[in-house]
Symmetry: C5
Subunit: 100 residues, 5 copies
Amino acid sequence: MQIAKVRGTVVSTHKAPSMTGVKLLMLQFIDEDGELLPQYEVAADIVGAGIDEWVLVSRGSAARFDIGSEHRPLDALVVGIIDTVTVENRTLYSKKEQYR
Amino acid sequence: MQIAKVRGTVVSTHKAPSMTGVKLLMLQFIDEDGELLPQYEVAADIVGAGIDEWVLVSRGSAARFDIGSEHRPLDALVVGIIDTVTVENRTLYSKKEQYR
Amino acid sequence: MQIAKVRGTVVSTHKAPSMTGVKLLMLQFIDEDGELLPQYEVAADIVGAGIDEWVLVSRGSAARFDIGSEHRPLDALVVGIIDTVTVENRTLYSKKEQYR
Amino acid sequence: MQIAKVRGTVVSTHKAPSMTGVKLLMLQFIDEDGELLPQYEVAADIVGAGIDEWVLVSRGSAARFDIGSEHRPLDALVVGIIDTVTVENRTLYSKKEQYR
Amino acid sequence: MQIAKVRGTVVSTHKAPSMTGVKLLMLQFIDEDGELLPQYEVAADIVGAGIDEWVLVSRGSAARFDIGSEHRPLDALVVGIIDTVTVENRTLYSKKEQYR
């Protein structure tokens, strides 16, 4: 999985029927130092992530391995909202500190 | 999914039998600032996207998860025509403004 | 799918038994301006493409979605010989002009 | 598979139900000379790898081919702790030397 | 498939049970001019490739499409030892010449 920050939303009304009801988030990837990368992914959200939160995103066929996603032409899925990222005993990110 | 702009079409008459009847679009990818990238994808179209429209494209096995695509050797599919892309309360793209 | 030009062939006699009878082409990718890229793919050919022809290549699990390919460890397949590539009403490539 | 070094952990409490009980490691990729690359992957761990160990990571659908992972939206999995990497009769890495 | 040169081996004793008995080769990719690229892949070997031989490697789910590999978390597989690579009537590589 990669780490990404929720930056916005994408709306599409004219789409494949199987995409109905899917909430699409605009994510921007985070590098190993916690900085934003010039790369994004539009991913389906099943965990209710909000703007600026850090999330875990799975890509490829993994995006269809959740309830309700099995038959949708998805290739990216938010699978969790991140609480903490710890690298060599250093806290790279903590949701609590971000939002206090 | 990635965001791409419809740039043209690709025609192939001598092809795998299972590819018969598939409309192939030439897409060019869009970066997170809304600019064209020097990268393209030839994708099957099931939503009837037109030249210059922004679309969502799914790649990999996701391209075969729609009615009629299950048995085709596709690795890219247009899954929706984009209405709006919103980043941090700013509208990066709006189909209405583009075409008014 | 990506667009590629047939550049040559690869021969392997000592291989996985399931690869028997597969014709392997050396393809070089084409960019969005019609120029050769320094990237190649060795792909199975089921359409009988010849040297210098432009073809459509599918990668990933799509390479196994054709008759006879289902059980082979393939990750790239030539799915069609390209007749024309049209970008914004301009013909980027036409097989007829190429060979007349 | 790629070679990576275990650098840390990622914690997510609000996640897809199927992700419950998955231990997530922050891995940093290693290049062919044994140096750290500026690329990471968050992968599920089933072998109990520890900080600073070199591991083998499988990506894509391979990440769901182990006991307990079949129905999880995973796209990266630690499949083994590396003992030695040997290139042209030279030992690039040896776990014993690393930890003695 | 990509072309790679066998450079060495990777040994892992503490691994996923389904990985037992898999021989892992350290491969380095070859570019379209026959030169080594600074990119590698650790792949399972089912054809008995030796050091310095050029091989064909399949990546992704293709790596599990051979006898004995179906249930292993593999994402890269050596599917054949290359005899010749021919580009535009020029022999880029010939195993016989390499070993005579």
